[in-house]
């Protein structure tokens, strides 16, 4: 095995390191400095980071529920795409199996819907 086939990898690695070093070093010098409250937050994602009193407190879990629901359907799509691409060759067997899969996902969905997981307030 010759080492030459690894050269692109080494080049990529070097470039990536240089780019990371370059951007981190240059950012404080050329970036505009306009401080506001949002700059102090860990993530600018829409949830107010709760100022928690010692011992913990309550915080809304709505986004968390939505994210979990998203994962249910996300995983479903992950499996639906390859099935759709190979639909002809998988035939009736694939169709029935996929129906069963969708039914089980639907069971979880029904639970969430009936228990009020879809109500925002």
């Amino acid at each position: 095995m010759s080492l030459s086939q690894w050269v692109p990898l080494v080049v990529l690695f070097t470039l990536a390191t240089l780019f990371a070093l370059f951007s981190v070093t240059i950012a404080p010098y050329i970036g505009p400095r306009r401080y506001n409250k949002a700059k102090l937050e860990a993530y600018e994602c829409g949830i107010e980071p709760t100022p928690t009193p010692p011992g913990g407190s309550r915080f809304p879990v709505k986004f968390y529920l939505t994210a979990m629901l998203f994962i249910i359907f996300d995983i479903e799509i992950v499996f639906l795409y390859p099935w759709a691409v190979a639909f002809d060759s998988l035939g009736m067997f694939g169709f029935v199996e996929m129906l069963l899969f969708i039914v089980t996902v639907f069971v979880a969905y029904t639970y969430v819907w009936r228990r009020g997981g879809l109500d925002w307030d």
């Binding site: 309550r58 060759s89 089980t104 069971v107 639970y111 819907w113 009936r114 228990r115």
Partner: protein
């Protein structure tokens, strides 16, 4: 594009798991549509019905030996035995999960996520508990069943997650002492996820080594592969870490006492009996099928882990002051004895299976009795509170004494016959050092059990001795099953020993 080979599927072999998974899905629908007042009754009947139907399907399958769905599932003698054991132990532990007389609303709360001591948390202490625990238990049991018959490492990983995730959640649902219950759930989840990552990395390296994830494929790969042996060693080590974590072997046991103590006692019982059986089912299969031919490389390492587990588990059990933590360290030590069975390979598969059943029933009985000793705060698990219980509650103390003697390995109990069977088959497989350490550590381990017995009968009662509550028929049945099986397997073990001998070796082709 059009020559995709569909794998042959033997539905009979999958039927037990399909039944339990199906019952779990129906259970979710019951949660969605059944009126609140009816849920408990429907869920209990559905869960027991599903498990019994699964057990019947296993008994019908008893002579089946087949690899199906493209090698993903291997149903063989030991696999079917383990599935049956998990279902039976699951049915018994369901008695504790469904108990509603000891605690108004059952041993679980409805929502795990309330911050401990918040208003919502105090409110739900008086409300009936979640009936979701039943489908969750079914999912966990079905995952364990799949784990024991996995034919490749990816199926095994999926099964591992399927049975772990419900357990993480169940750990956080204790009605009393919410804070340590939530702590248990979080610790178990974080460490469990960490261990899963090790498992998965091991699978990846083994795939790199053997070019396949199927256990039989790796077995052939060990003989033929041209890849570096480091891949095999590293992959096997990482895979073993993931499995040994679930089995609670030292040094991957640190979660065990905290989780066993914090989890609701019915869930602790389920984990100690069923998860133990599943974890060792997986360990036995992986080492006997995939890595038997490279045994010289890993046996010394696993033997060291076994010795550490036996020694650390039994010595730390001596120092415990809480009955649930004591049983947790005892389960660590028992994991060490079972590891002796894993190191001994094919010679000790049967006696390991026997041990899992015997230990499972004893530990279910013991945890069932732990749920009975109560004061106004819930279960009184600190050992000092148990002092002098023998005066007021002789029957309770007598039964608990019997189970403790069983754990200590006194003759006429299953603790003796199972240790004897396991150690003698290990001796025949030339693991004499392990057997000697095992016998010595079980002598050490007898001390904490006898300490509890002395505490029950000879110590004077404390100022506020808790009461022994009278449970419903469900918990009584669990205690009866635990004590009866501990006795029967101690006196007449031959019928079960015949069954495990008939189960034969793992299917390795």
């Amino acid at each position: 594009m059009n020559d995709i080979q569909l794998p042959a599927i033997d539905y009979a072999a999958l039927l037990p798991m399909l039944i339990v998974f199906g019952a779990a899905c129906v259970g979710i629908l019951v949660e969605a549509f059944a009126p609140r007042g009816w849920r408990f009754v429907i869920q209990v009947s559905l869960t027991i019905g599903g498990l019994v139907a699964g057990l019947v399907a296993i008994i019908v399958n008893r002579d089946l030996e087949i690899t199906t769905i493209g090698g993903a599932v291997t149903v063989d003698g030991p696999g079917l035995f383990l599935q049956g054991a998990i279902i039976i132990l699951g049915i018994v532990s369901l008695g504790l999960i469904a108990e509603r007389r000891l605690e108004r609303g059952g041993p679980f709360v409805a929502e795990a996520a309330h911050a401990a001591n918040s208003d919502g948390d105090k409110r739900q202490e008086r409300e009936p508990g979640a009936t979701e625990v039943f489908p969750l238990t079914l999912f966990a049991i079905a995952g364990m069943m799949l784990f024991c018959v996995s034919g490749d490492l990816l199926t095994m990983f999926v099964a591992l997650e399927v049975f772990s995730l419900p357990l993480y959640l169940l750990c956080g649902l204790a009605r009393r002492r919410r804070l340590i219950s939530q702590e248990a759930a979080l610790k178990y989840f974080l460490l469990g996820a960490f261990a899963s990552a090790f498992f998965l990395y091991g699978v990846a390296l083994l795939y790199g080594y053997a070019g396949t994830v199927s256990l039989t494929g790796i077995r052939e790969g060990v003989l033929q592969s041209e890849q570096s042996g480091i891949l095999l060693a590293a992959g096997l080590a990482l895979l073993a870490i993931g499995l040994l974590f679930k089995a609670a072997a030292v040094p991957f046991h640190v979660w065990t006492p905290d989780v066993y103590q914090g989890a609701p006692t019915p869930v602790t019982a389920l984990m100690a009996a069923c998860t133990k059986a599943a974890a060792f089912g997986g360990l036995l299969r992986v080492f006997n099928v995939a890595f038997e031919t490279t045994a010289w490389d890993w046996q010394p390492v696993l033997a060291t882990v076994a010795i550490l587990t036996m020694v650390v588990g039994s010595i730390l059990a001596v120092a415990q002051t809480d009955i649930k933590r004591l049983l947790a360290y005892s389960s660590v030590a028992n994991a060490g004895y079972l590891l002796v069975g894993v190191v001994s390979l094919n010679g000790a598969v049967g006696s390991s299976l026997f041990y899992l059943i015997a230990y499972g029933f004893s530990v279910l009985g013991a945890f069932a009795m732990v749920t009975l000793v109560r004061d106004s705060e819930g279960e009184a698990t600190h050992l000092s509170r148990w002092a002098g219980l023998g005066k007021g509650s002789p029957l309770f103390s007598a039964l608990f004494t019997f189970l403790m003697l069983g754990f200590a390995g006194i003759p006429l109990t299953s603790g003796f016959t199972s240790k004897f069977a396991l150690f003698s088959s290990a001796w025949d497989s030339d693991q004499s050092v392990l057997v000697i350490v095992g016998v010595l550590s079980s002598v050490v381990l007898a001390f904490p059990y006898l300490k509890v017995v002395v505490l029950l009968w000879l110590n004077p009662p404390g100022e506020e001795t808790p009461t022994v509550s009278v449970p419903s028929m469900l918990t009584r049945a669990v205690i009866f099953a635990g004590v009866a099986v501990t006795f029967v397997l101690g006196v007449a073990p031959s019928f079960l020993l015949d069954i495990v001998a008939d189960a034969g070796p793992f299917l390795a082709k």
